[in-house]
Structure formats: structure tokens, C-alpha cells
């Protein structure tokens, strides 16, 4: 049994993390972070403080901090990055479809992410790049990027002919959030698309589409993974190496955008 507490800015987020933690075996949410074995935080300085006290720390925004801070956090073996994106129900389905072999060789990943909330654009982009690397299970060999204010379009090539286009827009109007990920394999395809998951509100002012959300399953799924790792001391995805790899790729993405040219990272061009 592990006690878990939160030190996050948002009270709503804190309540939600506590609720989800209570659904995970061997996790017991408590209010006082000073007395807890695991602390979940969205503040990097706090994360480093807890780490120095030998507390187990979950840091919620591994892509939001500077490279130096990220490296610092990663140097503590009790600080873990939160992979909330990977743990969304739709993304789990994508990963399982790839790992099951049902789709054959992964060929093409297309992602659209439109956000109206005040989210860090680099963080949103990095989360999607992380997904691409995770789903292809390799790092890109080619990168071509176009960036405009609040908008990134990243084109990745992978060894063996794999390819991905990721568009992230963090400027869409309030209430216009949208996500779509489709993955084409040599034997099948999977489509995780908000367009398929819209319901309708019909009222005098017209018809409005309402999006089915992913709920809070990502937090629960992540905490489940974390406790499993802590309990069994297994190697798991809760690890900084993928975060650091993605951060390096994001640097190359920025280079491509700044130079308006393709960044070649070795490997064959198919």
C-alpha cells in the first residue's frame, strides 16, 4: 500500500487525481503531501524538492519544462514523468492494435490536435511526437516542419518507409477542441477520431455537435501502471528515456522549422 498526495495548482485536478487514485489497488490518497510516499505535482521545483527528500514523485508536465530542468528531474530515480496522453482510452486502443499485430507493419500515422484551452503549444506537440515514436517503436529518420503562431505541422519519416504527419493547433475558438488519430498498417487500420464520437444538441438556435470526452481514465490508467511498477519493480513505460528522446526530436523539429528545410537524422530514405 502506498499513500499518495497531490501538490497541484488546480483544486479540480487534485480532487480528480485523488478520486482516480482511490480506484487503483494499493494506492491510498491522503491530503498531506509531507506525509505521503508518492506526491503528484505539476511544479518542477516542488518535484525536485520531494525527490531530495527521497519521496516518490510523479511530475505531470515532463514536456513543459526546460531541457536543463528535465535532465535534472530525470537524474532522480524516484521521479517519474506522467504519460497521460499515452494512457487515454483511444490511444491505448491504438497501441494495443499495433502490438497485437492485427494491423501488420505500421505504415502511416496521422494526427490532428486542435486545442482551445490555454495549453502550452510545445507540450501539446511533444505529446503527439512521443506518441508517434512510441507507436512506430523507433525514432524518425527525417523531419520537415512548418510552424506558424499557435500552429505546428510536423512531417516525420521512419525507417522502412513509415511516415507520419502531425498537426497541432492551439488557437481554435473556445469549445472547438478536436482530436483525430488514424494509423494505417499493412494489414489493417485504426481510426480514433472525434468526428465519429460526436453527439448532437438540437435547439432553437441551431444544431450543435458535442464531443464525447475521454473522461479521467488516463489518470487512472497511468496511476495503475505506476503502482504496478512500484509494487513489482518491473521495468515499465514510466521512464524518462522516452521523454528525453522526444525532447531531442522536438529540438530537431524546431531546427527544421527555423531553417525551412528537412532535417535528416540518418537511416535509409525509402
Amino acid at each position: 500500500m502506498f499513500t499518495l498526495a497531490c501538490n497541484v495548482v488546480s483544486e479540480d485536478l487534485k480532487s480528480n487525481i485523488h478520486l482516480q487514485a482511490s480506484r487503483v489497488p494499493n494506492l491510498f490518497p491522503i491530503e498531506e503531501w509531507t506525509e505521503s510516499q508518492i506526491v503528484v505535482t505539476d511544479q518542477s521545483e516542488a518535484a525536485l524538492e520531494y525527490a531530495k527528500r527521497n519521496q516518490t514523485v510523479v511530475f505531470l508536465h515532463p514536456f513543459q519544462v526546460s531541457g536543463l530542468t528535465r535532465t535534472d528531474l530525470a537524474s532522480y530515480n524516484r521521479v517519474f514523468p506522467a504519460f497521460l496522453k499515452r494512457n487515454q482510452p483511444r490511444i491505448i486502443q491504438l497501441k494495443q492494435a499495433v502490438e497485437s499485430g492485427k494491423l501488420g507493419d505500421t505504415g502511416l500515422l496521422r494526427i490532428h490536435r486542435w486545442e482551445s484551452q490555454k495549453i502550452s503549444h510545445p507540450e501539446a506537440l511533444a505529446e503527439e511526437v512521443d506518441l508517434a515514436v512510441w507507436l512506430f517503436d523507433s525514432t524518425p529518420t527525417e523531419i520537415y516542419t512548418i510552424k506558424k503562431t499557435g500552429y505546428s505541422q510536423v512531417h516525420l519519416g521512419f525507417t522502412g518507409g513509415g511516415m507520419s504527419i502531425i498537426t497541432v493547433d492551439t488557437t481554435v475558438p473556445e469549445g472547438s477542441d478536436y482530436y483525430s488519430a488514424s494509423l494505417i498498417g499493412s494489414k489493417g487500420a485504426i481510426y480514433a477520431d472525434d468526428h465519429r464520437n460526436m453527439n448532437l444538441v438540437l435547439k432553437s438556435s441551431g444544431t450543435q455537435a458535442i464531443r464525447c470526452t475521454q473522461g479521467s481514465m488516463a489518470i487512472k490508467n497511468f496511476l495503475n501502471d505506476l503502482q504496478s511498477m512500484l509494487t513489482n519493480e518491473e521495468n515499465s513505460q514510466v521512464d524518462w528515456s522516452d521523454i528525453l528522446t522526444t525532447a531531442r526530436i522536438c529540438d530537431d523539429i524546431n531546427d527544421s522549422a527555423e531553417n525551412a528545410d528537412v532535417v535528416q537524422l540518418g537511416g535509409e530514405h525509402v
Binding site: 507493419d105 505504415g107 502511416l108 496521422r110 490532428h112 486542435w114 527525417e142 520537415y144 512548418i146 506558424k148 500552429y151 505541422q153 512531417h155 519519416g157 518507409g161 513509415g162 511516415m163 507520419s164 504527419i165 498537426t167 493547433d169 481554435v172 475558438p173 472547438s176 478536436y178 483525430s180 488514424s182 494505417i184 498498417g185 499493412s186 494489414k187 489493417g188 487500420a189 481510426y191 472525434d194 468526428h195 525551412a260 528545410d261 528537412v262 535528416q264 530514405h269 525509402v270
Partner: protein
């Protein structure tokens, strides 16, 4: 009694598909009076032309000039092998016929340029067949024109055809010869997966690229200036053996800072319950638009349903009728067709740049 003018038309080869000729047959303003082709065309071409002529009880004339001279048509419906599209269209235009030509416009830019010049010189109209009047595309056009999403900033198209194309990649055994492109296409005529029929092997970008690029051209009039493409042979042995793509991603950079992208592939019948995932994602300064090309549709499920039968059936599709209506309007009002020879040529140029980029791994400039 309608006062509509009836346009006398001749099918200049009905080899690739018969859908344009059938669309004209179904339209009240067209009367297809014959099929014609060049005498030196191969036997299988003559056989297909003869079959169509027999079906509609019209003559098949193995001489283009003779057919034009004897029957005095006003319109040529051109659907031979892809590499002959421009040549037959040019022969028709030179005799003063308006032209409806199947896609892709050509396998070479030089041929496209020759057609554009001929069309201009003889002041005839040319319609390159497209799908820009599908209900979803009409809706997208109207929504953008209404200003609902503000100024267009980016446009993205997924165009995945869930058709198979012969044996899967990796199926060729040691010692077996590579698949002959034309033989494979002739064989594929039975199930309609012969969009690339002709001597020259074509990838999916070349065969189908005109549809999504036609959508992008329709909705974003900004010219595509640069492309970066990744291309691969991911699915089909025929594509591997002939070194042509069956999967591609393209970054598009257009005038005025508008950007776009295209994902295209012949992804196999198992990868979608219907014809394929075909969508548009469009971002504007004031909002965004997500369009499924298939809609509207109805769903049908029943016991013993054949596995390859589409479960969702497209309805209210008047693309063929509206294309021909707009073609007539272009003739009668001397306006532009919705996709003319110049437009088809420009799309071919984008495709050509994509193929180049796929091979070079570099950003390539589109030539206009």
C-alpha cells in the same frame, strides 16, 4: 417538353472506366452516338470499346477522324489508358470538340501542357473528371464561402482507398517474374481496381491524387508552391515490382502562407468497411471544419452479408449530374469548368513534385 439543347457526344475510348460515358448517358442533355478509337489500339482496347458500343447499340468506329467527320459530335468523352488521355483529347479539341477527360490528366507534364495549349487555341471547354460536386464537398464549399471559419489557414485531406490491388507485398516467390503492370490492370478491370490502366506504372499519388488535390484546389484557391513527400510501397506486390507508391504523405506549402497536407494510399479492403476513409480537416482564422467525403450515407447490415459489401451506402450523390451541368454551363456561358485542363495540369505538376520529393527526400518546388 424541355428546351434543353442535346449535345451529341462520342466516347473516345471506354477503356479505363465507363463511368463518365454512363454519366453522360444518364444526363438529359447528352446523346452518345458512337464509340471510337485509333485503329492501331491493342486488341483488348478494341474489345472493351466494342462491348460498350454493343451494350448501347451504337457503332464502334476504329478511326477518330472518320467518326468526327461522319457524326459531327460536339463533345468527346475521353477515357483510354492514362498515357493516351491527352493525345485523344488533343485530337478532339483540334476538331473543335469540347472535351471531358478521365483522370489522371496524363502521365507526363509535357502532354498536359500540349493539351492546355490546344484547348486555348481552339477555344473549346475541357472538364477533367473529378468529385468536387459530392454532397460533402458542396457543403464544405458553401461553409467556407459563408465565412463561417474565417480566412483559410490550413487544409488537410486524407484519401485512403480501401481497395486491394492484387497480391500483397512480399508474396512474390523466388524465381517468379515481377508483376507486369498492364497485365495486372487489365485483370483488375473486373473488380474496378484498374484506375492505373496503361503501359506506364503509376503510384497512388498519380492515379488518385487528382481527387484530393482537386478538393484542395477547390477549397483553397492558393497555388501550391512547395511540397515535401514521403512515399512507400507498403501493401501491394504490383507496386513493389513496378517501383510506384501505394502510400504517401505530403506537406503542402501554398501562396499567402496557407499550408496543407495530404495522406493517400490504397490501403486494402480489410482496412475500412466501405470505400475508404476520406476526410477533410480545415482550419480557418475563426473556426474549423471537419468533413467526411462519404456523407450522407445509410447503413445496411444483414445476415449472410458478403464481407466486401459496403455496410454504409452513399446517398444523394449527384456529382455526375452536377459535373455535366457545370460543363454545359461553361460551354453556353463561356465560363470555366470546375476543373479545366489548366487545373488538371497544375495538379499533375503538384503530383510530379511529390513523386520527385518522395525519391529525393527534399522539399521540391512545383513548376507552373
Amino acid at each position: 417538353m424541355s428546351n434543353r439543347k442535346i449535345y451529341k457526344a462520342i466516347a473516345f475510348s471506354v477503356v479505363k472506366h465507363d463511368y463518365i460515358a454512363l454519366a453522360a448517358e444518364a444526363h438529359p442533355s447528352f446523346d452518345i452516338v458512337a464509340v471510337c478509337d485509333e485503329a492501331q489500339a491493342p486488341d483488348w482496347v478494341h474489345e472493351r470499346n466494342q462491348e460498350y458500343a454493343d451494350r448501347f447499340d451504337i457503332p464502334y468506329i476504329r478511326d477518330l477522324s472518320q467518326a468526327i467527320q461522319e457524326l459531327q459530335p460536339e463533345v468527346a468523352i475521353v477515357s483510354p489508358q492514362a498515357e493516351r488521355h491527352c493525345e485523344l483529347s488533343i485530337q478532339a479539341a483540334e476538331k473543335g470538340l469540347h472535351v471531358i477527360v478521365d483522370k489522371p490528366l496524363s502521365t507526363t507534364l509535357a502532354e498536359c501542357d500540349r493539351l492546355v495549349e490546344t484547348i486555348q487555341k481552339h477555344r473549346v471547354k475541357c472538364l477533367v473528371w473529378n468529385r468536387n460536386f459530392l454532397p460533402a464537398l458542396v457543403q464544405a464549399t458553401q461553409t467556407i464561402e459563408s465565412g463561417a471559419i474565417g480566412k483559410l489557414e490550413s487544409i488537410h485531406c486524407d484519401f485512403y482507398f480501401s481497395k486491394d490491388a492484387g497480391p500483397p507485398k512480399g508474396s512474390r516467390k523466388d524465381g517468379d517474374p515481377p508483376i507486369n503492370w498492364l497485365e495486372r490492370q487489365i485483370e483488375a478491370h473486373a473488380d474496378g481496381s484498374d484506375g492505373g490502366v496503361g503501359e506506364k506504372a503509376m503510384g497512388e499519388l498519380e492515379i488518385e491524387g487528382i481527387y484530393p488535390l482537386g478538393y484542395i484546389r477547390l477549397l483553397a484557391p492558393n497555388k501550391i508552391q512547395k511540397v515535401f513527400a514521403r512515399t512507400a510501397t507498403h501493401f501491394h506486390q504490383a507496386n513493389v515490382d513496378n517501383d510506384v507508391d501505394d502510400l504517401a504523405t505530403v506537406t503542402l506549402e501554398m501562396e499567402d502562407g496557407v499550408v496543407g497536407s495530404l495522406c493517400i494510399g490504397r490501403i486494402g479492403a480489410a482496412s475500412h468497411p466501405d470505400i475508404g476513409e476520406i476526410k477533410l480537416h480545415i482550419l480557418g482564422s475563426e473556426g474549423a471544419l471537419v468533413i467526411s467525403e462519404a456523407r450522407p450515407e445509410v447503413s445496411l447490415y444483414y445476415k449472410e452479408q458478403p464481407p466486401l459489401e459496403f455496410k454504409n451506402i452513399r446517398i444523394a450523390d449527384e456529382n455526375n449530374f452536377l459535373l455535366l451541368e457545370s460543363f454545359i454551363e461553361a460551354i453556353e456561358k463561356n465560363s470555366d469548368t470546375i476543373l479545366d485542363a489548366q487545373g488538371g495540369r497544375d495538379i499533375c505538376s503538384v503530383v510530379e513534385a511529390c513523386v520527385r520529393s518522395g525519391k529525393s527526400g527534399k522539399v521540391e518546388v512545383v513548376e507552373y
